[in-house]
């Protein structure tokens, strides 16, 4: 059994990580499809605001914030897919932690909260980890495959559960909480140099929204911290697997190697690295072989034949270069590497996904 077949067969969470544009979404879809084929009930969740997962799954109507079952031939298995709706997810988290509906309403109506739900750096990653946790505890599914957000710093996803907790620990937050704690009014907060500064820069309306938000949040920090701990524990669970996705391009490989090191040093470990779109090698012969034949054909005046051999030499040289880069940059990580060859045409639908699946799940 290939390493990845083992992963989709036994894990309950698979996190696909990697930089943008390397085929992470397609890989997540292929993993989900294979797991469903082996009888598992799988949900694939994407954070990508683009329609790529829907495209990859051949889903014309697009994805929604609720899991939708896909019409695939999967025997006893099921394949579901959804797209993360971060603001809706955030509201659900707030409501489940609020002491009463009033507190939840006050928070959700606050302008600062709305900014945070839509624009705070790390919110998407944070909500992705929440969705992962929610789906993991959902009885309909026995495997959750997460396609993590393309982020400049892919490690954000792992730190995501703590984002809000850290934010709440922030000095500015404590200052804004001060008025409620000491019973003083808003105006005392405005005498704090830091808040005065924020007010001058962004305007006093914006500042009072922020103060109102932090005050409304009082009492909810504990629930948020506990949840963050639970999500962090799930990410470290033995049946949670990290699949690293990359292309054979230098920059993507450098980032993948860095990410593998980060995962390892934090005690997660990469179960498999998928290198997408690797140039096929076309046989075991060498570049020099093909060049010699091209030269011979050219010398005997057979131009077309020479061009055919020269092309083989070119493509083998590219494939060899890519493999050398992969070995050079990923060799030290020790995780098994699975190569998916570049196809003659681009991947669009379930048939092509199955094709990728064949490369992912058979021993090369």
């Amino acid at each position: 059994m290939s390493a990845l077949a083992d992963v989709v067969g036994r894990s309950s969470v698979i996190v696909c990580c990697g930089s943008g544009g390397v085929g992470k979404t397609t890989t997540a879809a292929a993993l989900g499809l294979e797991a469903a084929r082996t009888g598992r009930r799988v949900v694939v969740v994407t954070i990508d605001p683009a329609r790529r997962l829907a495209d990859a799954l051949g889903l014309a109507g697009g994805l929604t914030g609720e899991p939708q079952q896909l019409p695939v031939e999967a025997g006893d298995g099921e394949l579901w897919a959804m797209m993360l709706d971060a603001p809706a997810m955030f509201e659900r988290v707030v409501r489940s932690n609020a002491t009463d509906a009033d507190q939840a309403d006050r928070i959700v109506a606050n302008a600062f909260y709305r900014n945070m739900a839509t624009a705070l750096s790390g919110t998407q990653e944070y909500m992705a980890s929440e969705a992962l946790y929610e789906l993991h505890t959902d009885e309909r599914f026995d495997l959750v495959v997460v396609d993590t957000p393309p982020s400049r710093n892919a490690i954000e996803f792992l730190e995501a559960p703590g984002v809000l907790a850290r934010f709440l620990d922030h000095k500015a937050f404590k200052l804004m909480m001060l008025p409620t704690r000491t019973g003083l009014k808003m105006f005392s907060a405005a005498t704090q140099p830091m808040l005065r500064l924020i007010g001058k820069v962004v305007g006093s309306d914006v500042l009072s929204d922020a103060v109102a938000f932090f005050q409304a949040f009082a009492g909810m920090e504990v629930g948020f911290r506990e949840r963050a701990d639970a999500v962090a524990t799930l990410l470290r669970a033995p049946d949670t697997e990290f699949v690293l996705v990359t292309s054979p391009q230098h920059d993507a490989l450098v980032e993948a190697a860095w990410f593998a090191d980060q995962l390892t040093s934090r005690g997660y470990g990469v179960s498999t690295t998928v290198v997408n779109r690797v140039h096929p090698r076309f046989g075991v012969g060498t570049v020099a072989d093909a060049r010699t034949r091209a030269d011979k054909a050219a010398a005997s005046g057979r131009e077309q034949l020479a061009a055919t051999w020269a092309n083989l030499a070119d493509l083998r040289a590219v494939a060899d270069l890519e493999r050398a880069e992969v070995d050079d940059l990923l060799g030290h990580t020790g995780s098994p590497v699975v190569e998916v060859p570049l196809l003659p045409t681009d991947v669009h639908d379930l048939d092509s996904l199955a094709h990728i699946g064949r490369h992912l799940f058979t021993d090369g």
Binding site: N115, T118, L120, F167, M194, F282, T308, N311, D314
Partner: protein, 296 residues
């Protein structure tokens, strides 16, 4: 190359604005295009500044004789605060990460201070061309729509003025244009079309030339069914399979470049350098012939 391109040397890719923001989805080669543009302009004797937003050292390596500035939201905010009379507290605030709270209170203010800094450099008149290695496509639109969004949220004050100034710069085609980068593959081209649409309708900025990066410039191998390859051996089968593969990829590439050309006129092609990693020399070679690639 047409005769009308004689000015290409002084204005690489025919760009006439002072500021160029290079944008595109992750992995398409924005940094390569940034370096090629800067190289071509510097070689033509223009005073060039390159602005980099991710803290990556690649551009310093590729452009050893061109000034490269690394601008971050934190450093721009600190500078902004200093200029607005918060000298003593500014450094401490940016160090304690207050920018995260400010950025949440007024989303996009981090992008705005970066754009404000770029605008200040553009206004200084010290450079003939400023090339910005922009954020990835999804973020590029957010980055560029920030000033419009903030102007509505924050009326007046230093932030409002800053937003107005930046908007004026983005809307003026003589001052600013956006160069979008893509690969000759279907998903990147789909994203290119979406991003271009968003920039036209939501940013109102001028789109400069579109660059198709890593174009396989051939040669096209002959059709394996029409070549007499002699006695069939394992190697011969490999050669035939390789020819069929390359021909299919080149067809796909031509179709995707066709979509780009149809949407934007003739896109600029940067040929695929078959190396593991681009070097200073590759950038120089690409800069010397940015317009020379004709469709296959």
């Amino acid at each position: 190359m047409s005769d009308g391109d004689v000015e290409t040397n002084s204005n690489p890719l025919g760009i006439t604005s002072n500021l160029v923001v290079v944008a595109g989805k992750g992995g398409v080669g924005k940094t390569t295009v940034t370096a090629v543009l800067a190289r071509a302009a510097a070689d033509a004797g223009r005073r060039v500044l390159v602005i980099e937003l991710d803290g990556k050292p690649t551009l310093d390596e590729w452009l050893p004789d061109v000034e490269v500035r690394h601008i971050s939201a934190a450093s721009s905010l600190e500078e902004y605060l200093l200029e607005h009379g918060f000298g003593r507290i500014a450094k401490r605030l940016t160090k304690t990460g207050v920018i995260e709270v400010i950025g949440t209170a007024a989303p996009g203010i981090d992008d705005l201070v970066v754009l404000g800094k770029i605008k200040q450099l553009e206004r200084s008149g010290e450079w003939d061309l400023i090339v910005v290695d922009g954020p990835a496509a999804g973020h590029a639109v957010t980055f560029l729509t920030t000033p419009a969004g903030l102007r509505n949220a924050v009326s007046g004050g230093p932030v409002g003025e800053q937003a107005d100034d930046v908007l004026a710069m983005l809307a003026d085609p003589m001052r600013c244009s956006i160069v979008l980068v893509t690969l000759p593959e279907s998903t990147p081209v789909n994203e290119l079309l979406e991003t271009a649409d968003a920039i036209r309708t939501r940013v109102g900025a001028e789109l400069g030339p579109v660059v198709v990066n890593r174009v396989d410039d051939g040669p096209v191998p002959p059709d394996p069914d029409e070549v007499d390859v002699g006695r069939a051996t394992v190697q011969v089968d490999d050669a035939r399979a390789a020819a069929a593969f390359r021909r299919a990829r080149l067809d796909e590439q031509a179709a995707e470049i066709g979509r780009v050309d149809e949407a934007f006129g003739d896109a600029v092609r940067l040929p695929w350098r078959r190396v593991a990693r681009l070097t200073v020399d590759d950038i120089a070679a690409l800069a010397a012939t940015p317009e020379s690639e004709t469709p296959a």
